[in-house]
C-alpha cells in the first residue's frame, strides 16, 4: 500500500523543499519507488532543487486539467533509480488546485509509487491545505525559532481539522517533527531553542534533526538533493531520518558536542 507524505511547516523558508527533495531521494536510494510532487503553484522551485529544471515540459496542473498525461509530466531523476519529480506550474496560481483533481491524480500515482512526497507551499491557506488534504503522514519542518514553532503548531491544528482523514473521522494523519537548521554552538550558548524545548512545546515525535551546515546551500546550488552528499552532516542526518521513517531504530547524531581532547579543541574547525 502506497503512502502519501506531506512536507509542511506553515512558515516559509524553513526548508520544506530541501527536505522534500532529500527525503524523496533518500526513500528512492533505499529502493522504494518514490515521486516528489511540487504543490507550490506559481512559485515552482522543487525542479531547481532537484536539478531537473530544464527537463520540465508538462506539469501537475496540466495533469489535473487533463491537458497532459501523467507519464508526460513525470520527470525521471537521472542519478537515482526509482525517483521521479512531478513539477508544478510557474504561471498559474494556487486556485488552480482543487481536491477532486488532486485526488484523481494522487490515485493514479498510488498505482505506480510506494511513496508520494508532497512539497507544500508556505501558509495555512488553500495551497497548503490542498497539499496536506490527502496525506497519510505529515513531516512538520521546524526551525528552532519562535515564529517557526508557532506556525508549526498552527499547521498541526490544520492537519487535525482540515485533512481528509480528519474530515472523515479516520485514523489521524501521523505527525513527525523534522527540526532543521539546528546550530549546536548557539544552543549550547543558550541563544537557540534546544531539541527538548521544541519537543515539549509541540509534543509530536522527533523524526530527525538536521544541523545548520553549508552543505545544504551547496546542494541546492548544484541541484542535488543533499542526502546524496554522504560526506556532509545534513546528508547523513536526512539519511537517518528516512531510515527512522521506515521503522529502523537509529540514534540521533550531531545533537551533542563530541568530547574532544585539548589538542582537538585547539584545532577545532567550525563546521
Amino acid at each position: 500500500m502506497s503512502k502519501i507524505i506531506v512536507m509542511t511547516s506553515g512558515k516559509g523558508g524553513v526548508g520544506k523543499t530541501t527536505s522534500a527533495a532529500a527525503f524523496a531521494a533518500g526513500l528512492a536510494q533505499r529502493g522504494h519507488k518514490t515521486v516528489v510532487v511540487d504543490f507550490d503553484v506559481g512559485l515552482r522551485n522543487l525542479d531547481l532543487v532537484m536539478g531537473c529544471e530544464r527537463r520540465v515540459v508538462f506539469d501537475f496542473i496540466n495533469v489535473i486539467h487533463g491537458e497532459a498525461k501523467l507519464s508526460q509530466a513525470l520527470v525521471k531523476d537521472k542519478r537515482i533509480d526509482n525517483l521521479f519529480i512531478l513539477p508544478t506550474s510557474q504561471t498559474r496560481d494556487k486556485d488552480a488546485l482543487n481536491t477532486k483533481g488532486i485526488g484523481e491524480a494522487l490515485e493514479r500515482l498510488r498505482e505506480q509509487f510506494d511513496y508520494i512526497v508532497c512539497d507544500s507551499p508556505a501558509g495555512i491557506e488553500h495551497g497548503a491545505v490542498m497539499a496536506l488534504y490527502y496525506a497519510d503522514e505529515a513531516i512538520v519542518v521546524t526551525n528552532p525559532e519562535v515564529s517557526s514553532v508557532r506556525d508549526s503548531d498552527r499547521i498541526l491544528g490544520v492537519l487535525q481539522s482540515k485533512s481528509k482523514r480528519a474530515e472523515e473521522g479516520a485514523d489521524p494523519v501521523k505527525e513527525h517533527l523534522l527540526l532543521t537548521r539546528y546550530d549546536l554552538d548557539r544552543v549550547e550558548r543558550g541563544e537557540m531553542l534546544a531539541i527538548d524545548d521544541v519537543l515539549e512545546i509541540l509534543s509530536i515525535p522527533l523524526l530527525g534533526v538536521i544541523p545548520e551546515d553549508q552543505a545544504v546551500l551547496r546542494a541546492s546550488n548544484l541541484g542535488q538533493p543533499v542526502v546524496m552528499d554522504n560526506e556532509s552532516q545534513p546528508g547523513q542526518a536526512y539519511g537517518d531520518a528516512v531510515g527512522r521513517f521506515l521503522g529502523e531504530d537509529i540514534p540521533h547524531r550531531f545533537i551533542k558536542r563530541e568530547k574532544k581532547g585539548l589538542f582537538g579543541r585547539m584545532f577545532r574547525r567550525s563546521a
Partner: protein, 91 residues
C-alpha cells in the same frame, strides 16, 4: 566601551523564547480546540452590551475558555472604570 562589551556575556535568550511560546500556544490552542471559534464574536457582542450602559475601552472585556478534563470554564472579565458608581448615582 565597545571593547568592554566584548567581555560582557549576554544573558541566554532561549529560555525566554521557550516561556513566551508556552504561554502563547496555550492561549492559541484553547481558542482553537473544541469549536471555541465563537469566542471573538462573543467578546465583541458582550462589549457592545456593556457599552450600552457603561463607557469602557474596547480591550476591557476579556473572554477565555479553559478546559480541564471534562470541565470547561468560560471566564468573562469586564473591567469597569473607577468613576462608574458616581455616574450611576447621578443618572
Amino acid at each position: 566601551m565597545k571593547l568592554l562589551d566584548l567581555f560582557r556575556k549576554q544573558p541566554a535568550s532561549a529560555p525566554a523564547a521557550r516561556e513566551r511560546l508556552q504561554i502563547l500556544l496555550a492561549h492559541e490552542r484553547a481558542g482553537r480546540e473544541g469549536g471555541a471559534d465563537f469566542l471573538p464574536q462573543l467578546q465583541r457582542e458582550l462589549l457592545q452590551v456593556v457599552k450600552k450602559y457603561v463607557q469602557i475601552d474596547d480591550d476591557k472585556v476579556q473572554v477565555q475558555l479553559d478546559r480541564q478534563g471534562d470541565v470547561a470554564t468560560l471566564e468573562v472579565n469586564v473591567e469597569l472604570p473607577e468613576t462608574v458608581p458616581e455616574q450611576k448615582r447621578s443618572a
